[in-house]
Symmetry: C2
Subunit: 267 residues, 2 copies
Amino acid sequence: MYERGGAIGIFDSGVGGLTVVRQIASRLPREDIIYLGDTARVPYGTKSAETVVRYAHSCAGILLKRHIKLLVVACNTASAFALDSLRESLDLPVVGVVEPGARAALEKTKTMKIGIIGTRGTITSGEYQHTLQRLDPKVRVFSKACPLFVPLAEEGWTTGDVPAQIAAAYLCELIEHEVDTVVLGCTHYPLLRETIASVLGPSVALVDSAEATSEVVEKILASTDALCTSNSERSLHFLASDAPERFAQIGKAFLDHDIGDVEWVDF
Amino acid sequence: MYERGGAIGIFDSGVGGLTVVRQIASRLPREDIIYLGDTARVPYGTKSAETVVRYAHSCAGILLKRHIKLLVVACNTASAFALDSLRESLDLPVVGVVEPGARAALEKTKTMKIGIIGTRGTITSGEYQHTLQRLDPKVRVFSKACPLFVPLAEEGWTTGDVPAQIAAAYLCELIEHEVDTVVLGCTHYPLLRETIASVLGPSVALVDSAEATSEVVEKILASTDALCTSNSERSLHFLASDAPERFAQIGKAFLDHDIGDVEWVDF
């Protein structure tokens, strides 16, 4: 049994993981949440496995000092590269976003043809593909790295001609393969959901791993009797390794409400 | 007098500074060059002044261990934020890319209306604006951050409709202000030169700071009697803090020839 009093610790390379905070905060309204965005080293998606693993461990280290009962790796790239290594070395439950997203996609697909979009790191890791095929060997997986989606989302340039053309260029391969389900395999992508959905068309279902991840977090806490039941004023606390004001400003769109003060942390 | 035997040390947040290496290597064919791309922490252009200054000092520290006689800060953002601090603490000539670019722009402009494009960091620093106005108080400067140009250049997506539309959206303000000269205030932007030029039209001159910087390097070495005169087989050595293979692969387009082996360095 994990300590009820601890917070749910969540980290990501930057603001993207706030889409995961949003889902967890909404599903578990009594849980304290502490979030770290590694804005000094963002993005992870273009970097090597070794470097991402190193960064993931230093993020986890910061959160472990803050009294957490469960760790969510809200970054798809860090989930793909560093989850096993974090689980081996940490003595608390560690939840990634890849397996919950993969399971949600398998629940939605009818044709067993699933598309995965994500950063270059996530896609080249093959982690979604391996996870999906482990869960159901009959599935066919088509992957596409979409490196411009992160800067588009961070710039707030999420609708209109330019994002639509970029999305069309990236997604045409998935359309040709006739996938019926696409996993938004990067926490930034839900901000481009409308544009992506309009390019893929109404016959393709989109999966946002954030929602599926929040279900897994609830299940683990419930099964270990670690859910908060009496916290009437839960706290949401935000840390960033660089430019906390900009984190608060951009983060608003990801969290869907004001962030308030952000604490700067150094590594 | 600085040691003739040392190399020219050059650093940048990633591959972009290779456009500066290209100009220096071509102008000074006998000089040894050692280049560090901080690919583990790229980009700098979206990060705060404090963080960029810290990263710049750690890059300089790596190069200083390698026997250099002059340091070039090939990154516009690091030049804008960290040049003074590096000059104060280091005992060798330190050359940035901002002042050479500003001087070159003043030589080209006829209307004294100059546009600056760069990363968010470079533009918000105001460094080009201050430098230009210190050099000639009559100049009028119009600045625009173009955050998507770096990922476009790194993806090799430099021509066609999408980059043209993005460039048109960013550059329309400069066109309205009727600038006659635009400084490519980011080392990535020369790769998008064709697209930028076509959006701005033939009446606008483009300034690439890399060329101007190579002239300054030559002048400083000549004035301190530190130019190499007898190095028949000069060496070009490349270091990267992450993913050296990818650095070599993407870097080719920036350097305009093969890079060969890249050494991985840790901080």
